[in-house]
Symmetry: C2
């Protein structure tokens, strides 16, 4: 991104909570916290100060299939930040006293999440639909699991997972590809890891422009042969009763996995049904009837599965009407292909969004990393727009129908209420 | 911002919930919703589709002293969006049927906010410290107030407030200043409002570069002579008991108003005490003792007053220890000037943050508008960094002490607990 003063860099680990067993549940997220607690050459406060000093946005995120440590900072600070991130990923001490103290912080984090009705709803939905599979567990596990999680479990996880081919570095911003490579080389040398060729096994060293339009590494190759077992989607209904004002509703079915051939059709359908203030759900539920403030489609993609859902939050007395309308809009899209005009509007929305996204170094870093990790071709924005433009009205309707024919799940969080799927 | 494909434009109204009486409470926020419901030439769906079609980020926000309608979009979409925003601000119909339907949406929005413990905490704090003053009310008012708010009240508010000199247009991005002016002129003509000179009264037509470093309009001139009465800060304690896991804590005192001469000292102090993961509060409460996940300083600024606070969320058994530590860190900063090293770190953090902020058209549009509305000089980033660099360790300590000597307020939301200020 020539001319930009900033860069976003991320070190990604192709491991997440789904790769844990019942015994190691929570260790991926716990480890993410521990990486900020000290390396062989930096203590926790030094790490915190080094990130803060840049004035940038630095943090880490653990998800069900990925972990990422990232920083957005000025290009002039990038050598230091790259060195710091590589040090954290390769030389963390996982001190036992720090570990015990951090247990309290994580329990507080889980308590905070338990008080957020939206967090509870999305966790409940996954718990319902993924049954006994590890994808069913919340990323951070439960407080009870964190209370008993052993120090050695987190050390094992670090030693067995934070190694190639699980690791991916991605960056986007004002620095050139060669500058970033040189910084990574310096950071590896500083961390005592030898040269990049010693550590990394070849793939993924292309710049965005160089690998755009070509196939990336094979799907799953960053897992290094570790197997992920595909979950069976479970239909059903759950209701966590909470004494709050709104009923949170998440209604859906199995969606498309990451990199599915029909992902552009899926994206158009999601946007048309529930992607903005002109979407069918927003217009029908909020604008025409005033029944809810928030109503939209949601989707999550994993290696081998995904979820599709319609989210709404409303007082209990409106809830059945909202569910009926949501199902009716979903059905209407499945029954009848949208007009070319409506389709063109969605294509314009998605195209504009892609072009606007090019201005964000964080968004571009994310896209690079996900392409690499999930083994997806890194297409240029113009190619992506072309893929969206090639979606037909019949494709969209067929996708809505395909999803509608699948077994459904309904998660509710809030006041007791009798909600039935029509 | 030459070379950028996007632009953020906002139309601001120098009016917020504090300008309402008890009888008109909620009308500013209600009006914000109604502006999306149709003009003389566009219905609600047309407005929604016009925003969505850009693929950008378009919305509106009502605050206690300001209302803003904004869009980030491609420069190529800017003429349409400018025309749309000007039409909404000047020609909205405020249809009575739409009004009644939107009442339901707003009640749902308030219910959603009531289920967010953080929202409740910040509303409770303002309610506590501003007593019977209009700043004490939540921006959207209460559900009971919205249930009875009259259509005519919102019409009155629109007609009396959405006129110069309350209106400010600000924009930042890839378009030149002259291009934006031409688009505004076209939009005014299209809306039947004549030329810019007829509508606007002179001030505020400078580009960022042209007015940087010079004084802007006089403070309060955008209020057109309407008086704002300064509230008396009330000390005390409130506790909204909720059956949730964490106790939300907001502990503070009167802060500095918008544009206060010591705002750079204030900013350094806020950052040092609670502005990042290396801040004193974060290190003491979370890193050294593991008592909370979130702990940080917060501040809000109004025309004639402000609030300073320390926020933390933790389980009830940790709460007294967190409050004690927070007070002790605040006191320590007041008692002893920080080292030059610590000060330099904060200066670096704030400077980096300012330079990074220059890459965001939304942040720059905001800064332009606030400078204009609050009558603050629009300083260049280099001047701002210079102002931060001129802050001394003694200044920071004096500021902490000045605040510490003020009467305190403590708001709590969550489980019943006996918390005392040391």
């Amino acid at each position: 991104m020539p001319g930009l003063a900033s860069e976003t860099i991320g070190i990604w680990v192709a491991a997440g909570s789904r790769d844990e067993s019942a015994e190691t549940a929570g260790s991926t997220h716990f480890l993410e916290h521990m990486l900020f607690k000290g390396t062989g050459s930096r203590d926790a406060k030094t790490i915190a100060a080094a990130f803060d000093r840049t004035g940038g946005d630095s943090n880490a995120i653990t998800a069900k299939e990925l972990t990422c440590y990232y920083s957005r900072c000025l290009v002039t600070d990038l050598p230091n930040i790259t060195g710091l991130l590589v040090d954290m990923v390769s030389n963390s001490q996982l001190d036992v006293e720090e570990f015990e103290r951090e247990r309290g912080v994580i329990i507080e984090e889980l308590a905070m999440s338990a008080d957020d009705p939206g967090d509870v709803l999305f966790d409940d939905f996954d718990s319902l639909v993924f049954g006994s599979h590890s994808l069913a567990r919340p990323v951070g596990a439960t407080k009870d699991q964190i209370r008993v999680l052993g120090h050695h479990t987190v050390i094992d996880h670090y030693q067995s997972t934070y190694i190639p081919p699980r690791l991916v570095i991605a960056a986007a911003g004002g620095a050139t590809h060669e500058e970033v490579l040189a910084m990574v080389d310096d950071a590896l040398a500083e961390a005592g890891l030898g040269s990049r060729a010693d550590v990394w096994s070849g793939a993924g060293s292309g710049s965005e422009s160089a690998i755009a339009g070509t196939d990336s590494v094979a799907k799953g190759s960053h897992l290094g042969g570790a197997a992920r077992v595909r979950p069976e989607f479970q239909s059903g209904k759950s209701h966590t009763v909470k004494d709050i004002e709104q009923l949170g509703i998440l209604l859906g079915c199995e969606g498309l996995e990451e990199g599915h051939d029909d992902r552009f059709i899926y994206s158009v359908m999601l946007t048309m049904l529930g992607g903005g203030m002109s979407s069918r759900l927003f217009q029908s539920v909020r604008e025409e009837r005033g029944l809810a403030y928030a109503v939209n489609c949601v989707a999550s993609q994993f290696t081998d599965t995904g979820t599709f859902g319609i989210y709404a939050g409303c007082t209990a007395e409106n809830a059945q009407a909202v569910v009926d309308l949501a199902m009716s809009e979903w059905d209407r899209l499945a029954q009848e292909a949208p007009s070319q005009f409506e389709l063109d509007e969605i294509v314009s929305q998605l195209s504009g969004s892609m072009v606007l996204g090019l201005e964000s170094s964080a968004a571009r870093m994310n896209r690079l990393a996900r392409s690499e990790i999930f083994g997806l071709p890194l297409e240029s924005p113009m190619d992506l727009i072309e893929r969206v433009r090639s979606v037909t009205a019949e494709d969209v309707s067929e996708m809505a129908g395909r999803l509608l024919s699948r077994p459904k799940a309904l998660a509710l969080v809030g006041p007791a209420a009798e909600i039935v799927l029509p």
